[in-house]
Protein backbone atom coordinates (compact mmCIF):
# COMPACT_ATOMS: atom_id res chain seq x y z
CA UNK A 1 0.00 0.00 0.00
CA UNK A 2 2.89 2.37 0.79
CA UNK A 3 4.40 1.51 -2.57
CA UNK A 4 1.05 2.27 -4.19
CA UNK A 5 0.77 5.66 -2.49
CA UNK A 6 4.32 6.65 -3.38
CA UNK A 7 3.77 5.63 -7.00
CA UNK A 8 0.43 7.50 -7.08
CA UNK A 9 2.20 10.67 -5.82
CA UNK A 10 4.82 10.42 -8.56
CA UNK A 11 2.09 9.79 -11.13
CA UNK A 12 0.09 12.82 -10.02
CA UNK A 13 3.07 15.13 -10.42
CA UNK A 14 3.91 13.57 -13.77
CA UNK A 15 0.39 14.22 -15.07
CA UNK A 16 -0.19 17.69 -13.64
CA UNK A 17 3.34 19.03 -13.21
CA UNK A 18 5.72 19.34 -10.28
CA UNK A 19 3.53 21.89 -8.46
CA UNK A 20 0.66 19.39 -8.18
CA UNK A 21 0.77 17.62 -4.82
CA UNK A 22 -1.49 14.61 -4.35
CA UNK A 23 -3.33 14.92 -1.03
CA UNK A 24 -6.31 12.56 -1.29
CA UNK A 25 -6.52 9.00 -2.61
CA UNK A 26 -9.94 7.35 -2.46
CA UNK A 27 -10.97 3.98 -3.80
CA UNK A 28 -14.38 4.38 -5.41
CA UNK A 29 -16.83 1.54 -4.80
CA UNK A 30 -18.33 -0.45 -7.65
CA UNK A 31 -16.37 -1.54 -10.71
CA UNK A 32 -15.65 -5.04 -9.48
CA UNK A 33 -13.35 -6.03 -12.33
CA UNK A 34 -11.10 -2.94 -12.21
CA UNK A 35 -9.89 -0.64 -9.45
CA UNK A 36 -11.01 2.97 -9.69
CA UNK A 37 -9.23 5.60 -7.58
CA UNK A 38 -10.08 9.27 -7.21
CA UNK A 39 -6.88 11.32 -6.89
CA UNK A 40 -6.89 14.96 -5.88
CA UNK A 41 -4.56 17.66 -4.62
CA UNK A 42 -5.11 21.41 -4.66
CA UNK A 43 -7.30 22.23 -7.64
CA UNK A 44 -6.08 19.18 -9.59
CA UNK A 45 -8.13 16.00 -9.74
CA UNK A 46 -8.12 12.82 -11.78
CA UNK A 47 -9.33 9.24 -11.90
CA UNK A 48 -6.92 6.31 -11.97
CA UNK A 49 -8.38 3.17 -13.46
CA UNK A 50 -6.17 0.12 -13.19
CA UNK A 51 -6.23 -3.66 -13.04
CA UNK A 52 -6.82 -5.09 -9.53
CA UNK A 53 -3.50 -4.79 -7.68
CA UNK A 54 -2.11 -3.52 -10.98
CA UNK A 55 -2.14 -7.05 -12.39
CA UNK A 56 -4.23 -8.01 -15.36
CA UNK A 57 -6.51 -10.84 -14.24
CA UNK A 58 -7.03 -13.92 -16.34
CA UNK A 59 -10.71 -13.81 -17.06
CA UNK A 60 -12.94 -15.77 -19.40
CA UNK A 61 -14.55 -12.55 -20.62
CA UNK A 62 -13.55 -10.69 -23.74
CA UNK A 63 -12.11 -7.67 -21.91
CA UNK A 64 -9.79 -5.74 -24.21
CA UNK A 65 -7.13 -4.47 -21.82
CA UNK A 66 -6.79 -1.03 -20.32
CA UNK A 67 -4.45 0.47 -22.93
CA UNK A 68 -6.91 -0.39 -25.72
CA UNK A 69 -9.75 0.96 -23.59
CA UNK A 70 -7.86 4.26 -23.24
CA UNK A 71 -7.33 4.38 -27.03
CA UNK A 72 -11.08 3.89 -27.64
CA UNK A 73 -12.00 6.63 -25.15
CA UNK A 74 -9.61 8.99 -27.00
CA UNK A 75 -11.24 8.14 -30.34
CA UNK A 76 -14.74 8.62 -28.88
CA UNK A 77 -13.65 12.01 -27.51
CA UNK A 78 -12.46 13.10 -30.95
CA UNK A 79 -15.95 12.23 -32.26
CA UNK A 80 -17.39 14.63 -29.64
CA UNK A 81 -18.98 11.80 -27.67
CA UNK A 82 -19.34 12.41 -23.92
CA UNK A 83 -16.26 10.73 -22.41
CA UNK A 84 -13.57 11.65 -19.89
CA UNK A 85 -10.26 13.00 -21.22
CA UNK A 86 -7.42 10.49 -21.16
CA UNK A 87 -4.50 12.19 -19.39
CA UNK A 88 -1.97 9.37 -19.27
CA UNK A 89 -1.67 5.67 -20.05
CA UNK A 90 0.40 3.82 -17.41
CA UNK A 91 3.81 2.50 -18.43
CA UNK A 92 6.05 0.08 -16.49
CA UNK A 93 7.99 3.12 -15.20
CA UNK A 94 4.90 4.26 -13.29
CA UNK A 95 5.07 1.08 -11.17
CA UNK A 96 1.29 0.92 -10.94
CA UNK A 97 0.62 -1.94 -13.30
CA UNK A 98 -1.79 -1.67 -16.21
CA UNK A 99 -4.19 1.24 -16.41
CA UNK A 100 -4.71 4.88 -17.28
CA UNK A 101 -5.45 8.28 -15.78
CA UNK A 102 -8.42 10.31 -16.95
CA UNK A 103 -10.09 13.59 -16.09
CA UNK A 104 -12.67 13.45 -13.33
CA UNK A 105 -16.17 14.05 -14.71
CA UNK A 106 -18.53 15.09 -11.93
CA UNK A 107 -21.92 13.51 -11.60
CA UNK A 108 -23.54 10.29 -10.46
CA UNK A 109 -22.95 6.71 -11.63
CA UNK A 110 -25.13 4.87 -9.12
CA UNK A 111 -28.49 3.93 -10.62
CA UNK A 112 -30.68 4.39 -7.54
CA UNK A 113 -30.27 8.18 -7.16
CA UNK A 114 -30.27 8.72 -10.94
CA UNK A 115 -33.62 6.92 -11.19
CA UNK A 116 -35.20 8.26 -8.00
CA UNK A 117 -33.81 11.61 -6.86
CA UNK A 118 -35.52 14.88 -7.76
CA UNK A 119 -32.07 16.28 -8.66
CA UNK A 120 -32.03 14.08 -11.76
CA UNK A 121 -35.69 14.58 -12.82
CA UNK A 122 -34.79 16.76 -15.82
CA UNK A 123 -31.85 14.49 -16.73
CA UNK A 124 -34.12 11.42 -16.76
CA UNK A 125 -36.34 13.03 -19.39
CA UNK A 126 -33.34 13.70 -21.64
CA UNK A 127 -31.51 10.40 -21.15
CA UNK A 128 -33.41 8.18 -23.65
CA UNK A 129 -32.67 10.65 -26.46
CA UNK A 130 -29.10 11.25 -25.33
CA UNK A 131 -28.40 7.51 -25.06
CA UNK A 132 -29.85 6.93 -28.54
CA UNK A 133 -27.72 9.72 -30.01
CA UNK A 134 -24.56 8.61 -28.16
CA UNK A 135 -24.96 5.01 -29.34
CA UNK A 136 -25.51 6.21 -32.92
CA UNK A 137 -22.25 8.18 -32.54
CA UNK A 138 -20.34 5.14 -31.27
CA UNK A 139 -21.72 2.88 -33.99
CA UNK A 140 -20.84 5.43 -36.72
CA UNK A 141 -17.11 5.49 -35.89
CA UNK A 142 -15.20 4.20 -38.92
CA UNK A 143 -13.99 0.72 -37.97
CA UNK A 144 -10.69 1.18 -39.84
CA UNK A 145 -9.69 3.89 -37.33
CA UNK A 146 -9.97 1.50 -34.37
CA UNK A 147 -7.30 -0.51 -32.53
CA UNK A 148 -7.49 -4.30 -32.82
CA UNK A 149 -10.71 -5.49 -31.22
CA UNK A 150 -12.40 -8.86 -30.87
CA UNK A 151 -15.35 -9.52 -33.20
CA UNK A 152 -18.54 -11.00 -31.87
CA UNK A 153 -21.99 -10.99 -33.48
CA UNK A 154 -25.24 -12.62 -32.35
CA UNK A 155 -24.37 -16.16 -33.47
CA UNK A 156 -20.88 -15.87 -31.95
CA UNK A 157 -22.35 -14.82 -28.63
CA UNK A 158 -24.92 -17.61 -28.55
CA UNK A 159 -22.11 -20.10 -29.20
CA UNK A 160 -19.73 -18.43 -26.72
CA UNK A 161 -22.18 -18.25 -23.84
CA UNK A 162 -23.66 -21.68 -24.53
CA UNK A 163 -20.11 -23.09 -24.37
CA UNK A 164 -19.37 -21.39 -21.08
CA UNK A 165 -22.70 -22.48 -19.60
CA UNK A 166 -22.18 -26.11 -20.67
CA UNK A 167 -18.64 -25.99 -19.31
CA UNK A 168 -20.00 -25.42 -15.80
CA UNK A 169 -22.08 -28.62 -16.09
CA UNK A 170 -24.86 -27.21 -13.91
CA UNK A 171 -28.35 -27.76 -15.36
CA UNK A 172 -30.43 -24.61 -15.96
CA UNK A 173 -33.56 -25.63 -17.90
CA UNK A 174 -34.58 -21.96 -18.32
CA UNK A 175 -31.26 -21.25 -20.08
CA UNK A 176 -31.88 -24.25 -22.36
CA UNK A 177 -35.28 -22.92 -23.38
CA UNK A 178 -33.88 -19.42 -23.97
CA UNK A 179 -31.05 -20.86 -26.12
CA UNK A 180 -33.56 -22.83 -28.19
CA UNK A 181 -35.71 -19.73 -28.71
CA UNK A 182 -32.71 -17.56 -29.62
CA UNK A 183 -31.51 -20.04 -32.23
CA UNK A 184 -34.99 -20.36 -33.77
CA UNK A 185 -35.72 -16.62 -33.94
CA UNK A 186 -32.41 -14.99 -34.84
CA UNK A 187 -32.65 -11.78 -36.89
CA UNK A 188 -30.48 -11.50 -40.01
CA UNK A 189 -26.93 -10.33 -39.18
CA UNK A 190 -25.85 -6.82 -40.18
CA UNK A 191 -22.46 -5.24 -40.90
CA UNK A 192 -20.27 -5.04 -37.80
CA UNK A 193 -19.76 -1.72 -36.03
CA UNK A 194 -17.96 -0.61 -32.86
CA UNK A 195 -20.14 -1.85 -29.97
CA UNK A 196 -19.54 -0.44 -26.47
CA UNK A 197 -20.57 -3.75 -24.92
CA UNK A 198 -21.63 -2.55 -21.47
CA UNK A 199 -23.71 0.59 -22.07
CA UNK A 200 -26.03 0.93 -19.04
CA UNK A 201 -26.46 2.82 -15.77
CA UNK A 202 -23.47 2.12 -13.58
CA UNK A 203 -21.19 2.76 -16.55
CA UNK A 204 -22.60 6.20 -17.37
CA UNK A 205 -21.95 9.44 -15.49
CA UNK A 206 -25.17 11.43 -15.27
CA UNK A 207 -25.37 14.99 -13.99
CA UNK A 208 -28.36 17.31 -13.56
CA UNK A 209 -28.24 18.13 -17.28
CA UNK A 210 -28.19 14.50 -18.45
CA UNK A 211 -25.53 12.17 -19.87
CA UNK A 212 -22.08 13.50 -18.93
CA UNK A 213 -19.72 10.62 -19.73
CA UNK A 214 -19.64 7.04 -21.02
CA UNK A 215 -17.31 4.85 -18.94
CA UNK A 216 -16.07 1.25 -18.89
CA UNK A 217 -15.21 0.44 -22.50
CA UNK A 218 -13.48 -2.82 -21.55
CA UNK A 219 -16.07 -5.03 -23.27
CA UNK A 220 -15.98 -3.06 -26.55
CA UNK A 221 -15.88 -5.18 -29.71
CA UNK A 222 -16.91 -5.23 -33.34
CA UNK A 223 -20.44 -6.51 -33.51
CA UNK A 224 -24.12 -5.84 -33.95
CA UNK A 225 -25.37 -2.32 -33.04
CA UNK A 226 -28.62 -3.78 -31.71
CA UNK A 227 -26.63 -5.41 -28.91
CA UNK A 228 -25.96 -2.01 -27.26
CA UNK A 229 -29.53 -0.76 -27.79
CA UNK A 230 -30.94 -3.89 -26.12
CA UNK A 231 -28.38 -4.34 -23.31
CA UNK A 232 -29.60 -1.19 -21.54
CA UNK A 233 -33.14 -2.68 -21.76
CA UNK A 234 -32.21 -5.89 -19.87
CA UNK A 235 -34.38 -5.86 -16.76
CA UNK A 236 -31.42 -6.10 -14.36
CA UNK A 237 -30.26 -2.73 -15.76
CA UNK A 238 -33.65 -1.10 -15.07
CA UNK A 239 -32.72 -1.27 -11.38
CA UNK A 240 -36.24 -1.93 -10.15
CA UNK A 241 -38.08 0.51 -12.43
CA UNK A 242 -39.29 -2.26 -14.74
CA UNK A 243 -41.97 -0.18 -16.47
CA UNK A 244 -39.27 2.01 -18.05
CA UNK A 245 -37.72 -0.39 -20.52
CA UNK A 246 -34.66 1.72 -21.27
CA UNK A 247 -32.43 1.71 -18.19
CA UNK A 248 -35.36 2.29 -15.82
CA UNK A 249 -35.63 5.89 -17.06
CA UNK A 250 -37.37 5.83 -20.44
CA UNK A 251 -39.16 4.04 -23.23
CA UNK A 252 -37.62 2.26 -26.18
CA UNK A 253 -39.30 4.18 -29.01
CA UNK A 254 -37.80 7.62 -28.16
CA UNK A 255 -34.33 6.05 -27.86
CA UNK A 256 -34.68 4.31 -31.24
CA UNK A 257 -36.02 7.55 -32.77
CA UNK A 258 -33.07 9.59 -31.42
CA UNK A 259 -30.73 6.84 -32.65
CA UNK A 260 -32.13 7.07 -36.19
CA UNK A 261 -32.21 10.91 -36.08
CA UNK A 262 -28.49 10.92 -35.18
CA UNK A 263 -27.64 8.86 -38.25
CA UNK A 264 -28.11 5.35 -36.87
CA UNK A 265 -30.11 2.67 -38.65
CA UNK A 266 -33.85 2.25 -38.16
CA UNK A 267 -34.52 -0.74 -35.90
CA UNK A 268 -37.82 -2.31 -34.90
CA UNK A 269 -38.74 -3.12 -31.30
CA UNK A 270 -38.93 -6.82 -32.33
CA UNK A 271 -35.23 -6.78 -33.19
CA UNK A 272 -34.49 -5.31 -29.78
CA UNK A 273 -36.67 -8.05 -28.17
CA UNK A 274 -34.34 -10.74 -29.53
CA UNK A 275 -31.22 -8.95 -28.35
CA UNK A 276 -32.78 -8.32 -24.94
CA UNK A 277 -33.36 -12.08 -24.58
CA UNK A 278 -29.71 -12.71 -25.53
CA UNK A 279 -28.52 -9.95 -23.17
CA UNK A 280 -30.50 -11.43 -20.30
CA UNK A 281 -29.06 -14.89 -20.94
CA UNK A 282 -25.55 -13.41 -21.17
CA UNK A 283 -25.95 -11.64 -17.83
CA UNK A 284 -27.11 -14.92 -16.30
CA UNK A 285 -24.02 -16.74 -17.59
CA UNK A 286 -21.80 -13.82 -16.50
CA UNK A 287 -23.21 -14.23 -12.97
CA UNK A 288 -22.19 -17.91 -13.16
CA UNK A 289 -18.70 -16.89 -14.33
CA UNK A 290 -18.29 -14.43 -11.46
CA UNK A 291 -19.49 -17.02 -8.96
CA UNK A 292 -16.98 -19.48 -10.46
CA UNK A 293 -14.21 -16.99 -9.56
CA UNK A 294 -15.35 -17.36 -5.95
CA UNK A 295 -15.83 -21.15 -6.07
CA UNK A 296 -12.37 -21.69 -7.56
CA UNK A 297 -10.78 -19.50 -4.89
CA UNK A 298 -9.55 -16.90 -7.41
CA UNK A 299 -11.64 -14.16 -5.75
CA UNK A 300 -12.88 -15.04 -2.25
CA UNK A 301 -14.90 -11.82 -1.82
CA UNK A 302 -18.45 -11.91 -0.49
CA UNK A 303 -19.54 -9.91 -3.54
CA UNK A 304 -18.42 -12.70 -5.88
CA UNK A 305 -20.22 -15.30 -3.74
CA UNK A 306 -23.40 -13.22 -3.66
CA UNK A 307 -23.57 -12.77 -7.41
CA UNK A 308 -24.12 -16.51 -7.86
CA UNK A 309 -27.52 -15.98 -6.30
CA UNK A 310 -28.39 -13.45 -8.99
CA UNK A 311 -28.61 -16.15 -11.68
CA UNK A 312 -32.26 -16.74 -10.74
CA UNK A 313 -33.05 -13.07 -11.37
CA UNK A 314 -32.06 -13.54 -15.00
CA UNK A 315 -34.05 -16.78 -15.14
CA UNK A 316 -37.26 -15.06 -14.06
CA UNK A 317 -36.60 -12.32 -16.63
CA UNK A 318 -36.10 -14.96 -19.34
CA UNK A 319 -39.39 -16.62 -18.33
CA UNK A 320 -41.16 -13.25 -18.56
CA UNK A 321 -39.62 -12.61 -22.00
CA UNK A 322 -40.42 -16.14 -23.25
CA UNK A 323 -44.02 -15.78 -22.07
CA UNK A 324 -44.33 -12.43 -23.86
CA UNK A 325 -42.75 -13.88 -27.02
CA UNK A 326 -45.17 -16.79 -27.07
CA UNK A 327 -48.25 -14.74 -26.15
Amino acid sequence: MQDFEAAAHRLFSKVFGAEADLSDINRLSGGASQETWALSGGHFEAILRRAPGGVRPTRPSAAIGLATEAALIRIAGKESLPVAKILHVLTPKDELGEGFVMSRVHGETIARPILRDETFAAARLKLPGECGAALAGIHKIATNTLPDLPSSNGSDQIAQYEDIYRGFDIPHPVFELALTWLKANQPAPIDPVLVHGDFRLGNLIVDEQGLAAILDWELAHLGDPREDLAWICVNSWRFGVTENRVGGFGQLEPMLQAYADAGGAVFSTQEIDWWEMLGTLKWGVMCMIMYEAFRSGADPSVERAAIGRRVSETEIDLINLLEAANA
Binding site: N26, R27, L28, S29, G30, P171, H172, P173, V174, E176, L177, L179, T180, W181, N235, R238, G240, V241, T242, S301, V302, E303, A305, A306, R309, R310, S312, E313, E315, I316, D317, I319, N320, L322, E323, A325, N326
Partner: protein
Protein backbone atom coordinates in the same frame (compact mmCIF):
# COMPACT_ATOMS: atom_id res chain seq x y z
CA UNK B 1 -26.18 -32.26 18.39
CA UNK B 2 -26.81 -28.97 20.11
CA UNK B 3 -29.00 -26.47 18.36
CA UNK B 4 -29.14 -23.73 20.92
CA UNK B 5 -28.52 -21.32 19.32
CA UNK B 6 -29.80 -22.84 16.09
CA UNK B 7 -28.06 -22.30 12.75
CA UNK B 8 -30.64 -19.62 11.91
CA UNK B 9 -30.06 -17.89 15.23
CA UNK B 10 -26.29 -17.90 14.71
CA UNK B 11 -26.66 -16.37 11.24
CA UNK B 12 -29.13 -13.84 12.60
CA UNK B 13 -26.62 -12.84 15.29
CA UNK B 14 -23.87 -12.25 12.71
CA UNK B 15 -26.26 -10.27 10.50
CA UNK B 16 -27.22 -8.14 13.49
CA UNK B 17 -23.55 -7.50 14.26
CA UNK B 18 -22.88 -6.44 10.65
CA UNK B 19 -25.95 -4.19 10.43
CA UNK B 20 -25.80 -2.57 13.87
CA UNK B 21 -22.10 -2.53 14.78
CA UNK B 22 -19.78 -3.08 11.82
CA UNK B 23 -21.57 -1.22 9.01
CA UNK B 24 -22.02 2.12 10.83
CA UNK B 25 -18.23 2.16 11.40
CA UNK B 26 -17.30 1.50 7.79
CA UNK B 27 -17.19 3.68 4.70
CA UNK B 28 -16.35 3.31 1.02
CA UNK B 29 -15.54 -0.12 -0.35
CA UNK B 30 -15.66 -2.02 2.98
CA UNK B 31 -19.12 -0.51 3.70
CA UNK B 32 -20.31 -1.76 0.32
CA UNK B 33 -19.04 -5.27 1.10
CA UNK B 34 -20.70 -5.15 4.53
CA UNK B 35 -24.05 -4.44 2.86
CA UNK B 36 -23.48 -7.35 0.49
CA UNK B 37 -22.54 -9.58 3.44
CA UNK B 38 -25.74 -8.67 5.27
CA UNK B 39 -27.81 -9.47 2.17
CA UNK B 40 -26.01 -12.80 1.81
CA UNK B 41 -26.95 -13.74 5.38
CA UNK B 42 -30.58 -12.77 4.69
CA UNK B 43 -30.54 -15.11 1.66
CA UNK B 44 -28.97 -17.89 3.76
CA UNK B 45 -31.71 -17.49 6.39
CA UNK B 46 -34.48 -17.72 3.78
CA UNK B 47 -32.78 -20.70 2.14
CA UNK B 48 -32.65 -22.55 5.46
CA UNK B 49 -36.35 -22.04 5.91
CA UNK B 50 -37.65 -23.06 2.48
CA UNK B 51 -35.16 -25.43 0.84
CA UNK B 52 -36.69 -28.75 1.93
CA UNK B 53 -40.22 -27.78 0.92
CA UNK B 54 -39.10 -26.15 -2.35
CA UNK B 55 -37.01 -29.12 -3.40
CA UNK B 56 -39.82 -31.62 -2.81
CA UNK B 57 -42.27 -29.43 -4.74
CA UNK B 58 -39.77 -29.12 -7.61
CA UNK B 59 -39.12 -32.88 -7.62
CA UNK B 60 -42.86 -33.68 -7.67
CA UNK B 61 -43.42 -31.25 -10.54
CA UNK B 62 -40.47 -32.66 -12.52
CA UNK B 63 -41.68 -36.22 -12.00
CA UNK B 64 -45.06 -35.31 -13.54
CA UNK B 65 -43.57 -33.22 -16.35
CA UNK B 66 -41.06 -35.88 -17.39
CA UNK B 67 -43.32 -38.85 -16.56
CA UNK B 68 -40.45 -40.62 -14.79
CA UNK B 69 -40.54 -43.08 -11.93
CA UNK B 70 -39.79 -42.41 -8.27
CA UNK B 71 -36.30 -42.40 -6.89
CA UNK B 72 -34.55 -40.08 -9.35
CA UNK B 73 -32.58 -37.24 -7.80
CA UNK B 74 -33.50 -33.62 -8.41
CA UNK B 75 -30.21 -33.03 -10.25
CA UNK B 76 -30.76 -36.08 -12.42
CA UNK B 77 -34.28 -34.99 -13.37
CA UNK B 78 -33.14 -31.44 -14.14
CA UNK B 79 -30.43 -32.83 -16.43
CA UNK B 80 -33.08 -34.94 -18.16
CA UNK B 81 -35.28 -31.85 -18.56
CA UNK B 82 -32.36 -29.91 -20.08
CA UNK B 83 -31.73 -32.72 -22.56
CA UNK B 84 -35.37 -32.84 -23.62
CA UNK B 85 -35.51 -29.07 -24.15
CA UNK B 86 -32.25 -29.16 -26.10
CA UNK B 87 -33.49 -31.97 -28.34
CA UNK B 88 -36.76 -30.15 -29.05
CA UNK B 89 -38.78 -32.87 -27.36
CA UNK B 90 -40.12 -30.21 -24.99
CA UNK B 91 -40.80 -26.65 -26.24
CA UNK B 92 -42.19 -23.40 -24.85
CA UNK B 93 -45.66 -24.52 -25.95
CA UNK B 94 -45.43 -28.02 -24.42
CA UNK B 95 -48.09 -28.55 -21.79
CA UNK B 96 -46.81 -27.74 -18.33
CA UNK B 97 -43.22 -26.75 -19.24
CA UNK B 98 -43.44 -22.98 -18.80
CA UNK B 99 -45.68 -23.44 -15.75
CA UNK B 100 -43.08 -25.72 -14.14
CA UNK B 101 -40.14 -23.44 -14.95
CA UNK B 102 -42.03 -20.40 -13.76
CA UNK B 103 -43.09 -21.92 -10.43
CA UNK B 104 -39.58 -23.25 -9.76
CA UNK B 105 -37.91 -19.96 -10.68
CA UNK B 106 -40.36 -17.86 -8.64
CA UNK B 107 -39.55 -20.00 -5.59
CA UNK B 108 -35.81 -19.55 -6.22
CA UNK B 109 -36.00 -15.76 -6.69
CA UNK B 110 -38.09 -15.46 -3.53
CA UNK B 111 -35.15 -17.02 -1.70
CA UNK B 112 -32.34 -15.23 -3.56
CA UNK B 113 -33.73 -11.73 -4.26
CA UNK B 114 -37.31 -11.38 -2.92
CA UNK B 115 -37.47 -7.71 -3.89
CA UNK B 116 -36.34 -8.28 -7.48
CA UNK B 117 -38.61 -6.43 -9.92
CA UNK B 118 -38.92 -9.36 -12.34
CA UNK B 119 -40.66 -11.35 -9.61
CA UNK B 120 -43.57 -8.88 -9.54
CA UNK B 121 -43.85 -9.09 -13.33
CA UNK B 122 -43.94 -12.89 -13.18
CA UNK B 123 -46.61 -12.92 -10.49
CA UNK B 124 -48.84 -10.29 -12.11
Amino acid sequence: MHDQPSLAELLQAVKHFIDETASPNLSGHPAFHARVASNVLATALRDLEVRTANESAEAASLKTLLAVSDGRSLDDMNRELCKRIQSGDLTATSHGLIAHLKATTIAQVKTDQPRYSGLKTAES
